[in-house]
């Protein structure tokens, strides 16, 4: 839909408290219609990076969407461009799923005149959770909560989707559906998606590009099969891994053991 304005992020530095959590990170160019997976061990700085791109963490460096300097935009303008889904989905709110998604539309009006309830309902249908519309947020299962959270991030029609482990609490069927829905949306609407994943097979299956993070820096980035190698996995996760191509051409990762961890 939108002209091919790519997202570029260079020289990112994020300081949290006294710690430089991300120090001089460069991301590959991310183009509309593509899914970039962000993988890496616990504490590597994936969530911090996503939050920095969502302008929820203070960030230095250059982040450009085409010619637009995203770090210089007003908070409201930046929020119109991005949809963010947090890793921890807390909500004890006495709201229904539909209401939560309506609230996402109404909190800061975006000029779209169509009925927010209809838009919200359409977003739920798209994710296959219209049946949950009238369920209370504080009475959902962990996975249902994650689906409701994803709907809130997607509904405002952002140009950049920042999803922090959207599949971590989902059953295998839902994981597939969610990644499929994200990919379809991204392809149709020319969205740029950055998705944190721990599941290597999901990353290999659904991402157009993978960034492997370690200790606040990018260890490797590029096409999935170039990044997910036994050497890289050994270095990042300390696992002894084999990677095999199955008969349908998909890559599979087998972890055969644990190496001594460094770092």
């Amino acid at each position: 839909m939108s002209g091919g304005e790519a997202l570029r992020a260079e020289g990112l530095r994020v300081r949290l408290g006294r710690r430089m959590v991300i120090d001089g990170l460069d991301l590959p160019e991310m183009r509309p219609g593509e899914v970039t997976a962000l993988i890496g061990p616990n504490g590597a700085g994936k969530s911090t990076l996503i939050r920095a791109l969502a302008r929820l963490a203070p960030c230095e460096g250059r982040v450009f969407l085409g010619d637009l300097d995203l770090l210089q935009q007003s908070a409201a303008a930046h929020a119109r461009l991005t949809g963010y889904m947090p890793q921890a989905v807390q909500s004890g709110a006495a709201l229904t799923v539909l209401e939560a998604v309506v609230t996402a539309l109404r909190a800061v009006p975006d000029g779209d005149r169509s009925d927010p309830v209809m838009r919200a309902h359409a977003a739920l249908e798209r994710l296959g959770i219209a049946g949950l519309a009238q369920s209370r947020l504080d009475r959902l299962s962990g996975g249902q909560r994650q689906m409701a959270s994803l709907a809130q991030a997607m509904v405002r029609g952002p140009r950049i989707l920042l999803l922090d482990e959207p599949t971590s609490a989902l059953d295998p069927g839902r994981q597939f559906e969610v990644m499929q829905a994200v990919q379809a949306l991204v392809r149709e609407s020319g969205i740029i998606a950055v998705v944190v994943l721990h599941d290597l097979e999901l990353s290999l299956r659904w991402a157009d590009r993978i960034v492997l993070m370690q200790a606040g820096a990018a260890l490797a980035s590029g096409a999935p099969e170039d990044v997910v190698t036994p050497e890289a996995l050994g270095q990042a996760y300390g696992i002894d891994a084999r990677i095999e191509r199955c008969s349908r051409g998909l890559l599979h990762v087998h972890a055969d053991g644990v190496l001594a961890r460094h770092g």
């Binding site: 939050r51 969502a54 929820l56 908070a75 409201a76 930046h78 929020a79 119109r80 991005t82 949809g83 963010y84 947090p86 989905v89 807390q90 909500s91 709110a93 006495a94 709201l95 229904t96 539909l98 209401e99 939560a100 609230t103 996402a104 109404r106 909190a107 800061v108 009925d115 309830v117 209809m118 309902h121 739920l124 219209a130 049946g131 519309a133 009238q134 009475r139 959270s149 809130q152 991030a153 405002r156």
Partner: protein, 351 residues
């Protein structure tokens, strides 16, 4: 809106839910009006409904006694109860939302303790704003100190990265600090000053007048529309801090503005009728049980519930002991607590 046929049962259910909520708000408003009329009728010399109504609407045609009772005693007291109840419950609703804590009330953050200290200064040491008429000394002092406490909290709330827990901790520190200073004053107070102060803390609408009612009404007229304008942002805050910020909401500013509104409402209430704490907690709770937390309905339902609870407490305060008007603060808690517990416990069972 296009009417979808059976294709979208969720939409129909949602519409029904909205109708139920609007109905709840309308019924609450009706009950508030009924309670207002009832409070004009009841008291040491009861008036039949028609006579109370006539004295209210056509004062020239009513009997002199009825007119005097209604216009100089009962209506001012009833309106004060109504306005204070609405103000405290609205303040409580916003407080619970911005602190993400259903146990918060306007008093959690030390506003009432600060107000008590101000009142104690006036009642015990005779220290107050110079040049004010005598009946405004205590309220002026109470308001001043409540505002001071809030200014302190506000300066912290505005700092980036300050979440609800920092605010609550600072508030608790303020509660202890002001309570200690109040205790110190009480310790040194004369018998009669102490008695006056204790009576003040129990809460009473007996000291009211049209001037105070005007001030309260004005404050509500200014604050309520501002709360209403923030209704969707407040609802979004219930979805989480990061989430709200990712929608483009400046949560620090939202909290600060809410704190200012809360201070104005609760400081004025406490200043005029004493420390009536419970309404600010129970009003939003009952509203939440009835209409949920979408602030479009939650805010008005809270304010109306608060007004209703206070009006009922005002009526009961004259009925419980024949010939004696109990302090309304005591009645609010005595009557409110069982009702409140019944609601909360029933909800648990219903899950």
């Amino acid at each position: 809106m296009t009417a979808l046929p059976a294709a979208a049962p969720a939409l129909a259910a949602h519409a029904a839910q909205m109708r139920w909520r609007r109905g709840c708000v309308a019924v609450l408003a009706g009950l508030v009006l009924a309670a207002l009329l009832a409070s004009l009728m009841s008291g040491p010399s009861p008036l039949p409904p028609l006579e109370a109504l006539r004295a209210l609407i056509l004062p020239d045609e009513a009997e002199r006694v009825a007119r005097v009772i209604v216009w100089t005693v009962r209506l001012p007291q009833a309106l004060t109860a109504l306005l204070v109840g609405a103000a405290l419950a609205l303040a409580g609703a916003e407080m619970q939302t911005i602190l993400d804590n259903p146990l918060a009330s306007p008093f959690t953050l030390g506003i009432s303790s600060a107000a008590s200290f101000g009142a104690a200064l006036a009642l015990i040491l005779g220290v107050s704003v110079p040049g004010l008429p005598a009946e405004w000394l205590v309220p002026a002092n109470a308001f001043l100190f409540a505002a001071l406490a809030m200014a302190l909290l506000r300066s912290v709330a505005g700092r980036p990265g300050t979440g609800p827990s920092t605010l609550v901790l600072l508030g608790i520190a303020l509660v202890f600090a002001f309570n200690a200073m109040v205790a110190l004053l009480q310790y040194t107070a004369s018998q009669s000053a102490l008695q006056q102060f204790v009576f003040w803390t129990m809460g009473s609408v007996g000291q009211t007048g049209w001037g105070r009612i005007g001030v309260l009404a004005l404050a509500l007229a200014v604050v309520a529309p501002l709360s209403w304008r923030a209704r969707w942002m407040l609802t979004a805050l219930r979805l989480g801090e990061d989430r709200a910020r990712s929608f483009g909401i400046d949560t620090g500013r939202l909290r600060t503005m809410a704190l200012i509104r809360i201070t104005l409402l609760s400081a004025l209430s406490v200043a005029f009728v004493g420390t009536i704490g419970f309404v600010g907690l129970v009003g939003p709770h009952i509203a939440r049980l009835l209409v949920g937390e979408d602030h479009v309905h939650f805010l008005p339902a809270s304010a109306l519930t608060g007004a209703l609870v206070m009006l009922l407490a005002a009526i009961l305060s004259e009925l419980i002991v024949q010939g004696v008007v109990l302090p309304i603060g005591i009645v609010t808690s005595l009557v409110g607590v069982p009702v409140f517990l019944a609601l909360v416990l029933r909800r648990k069972d219903g899950l």
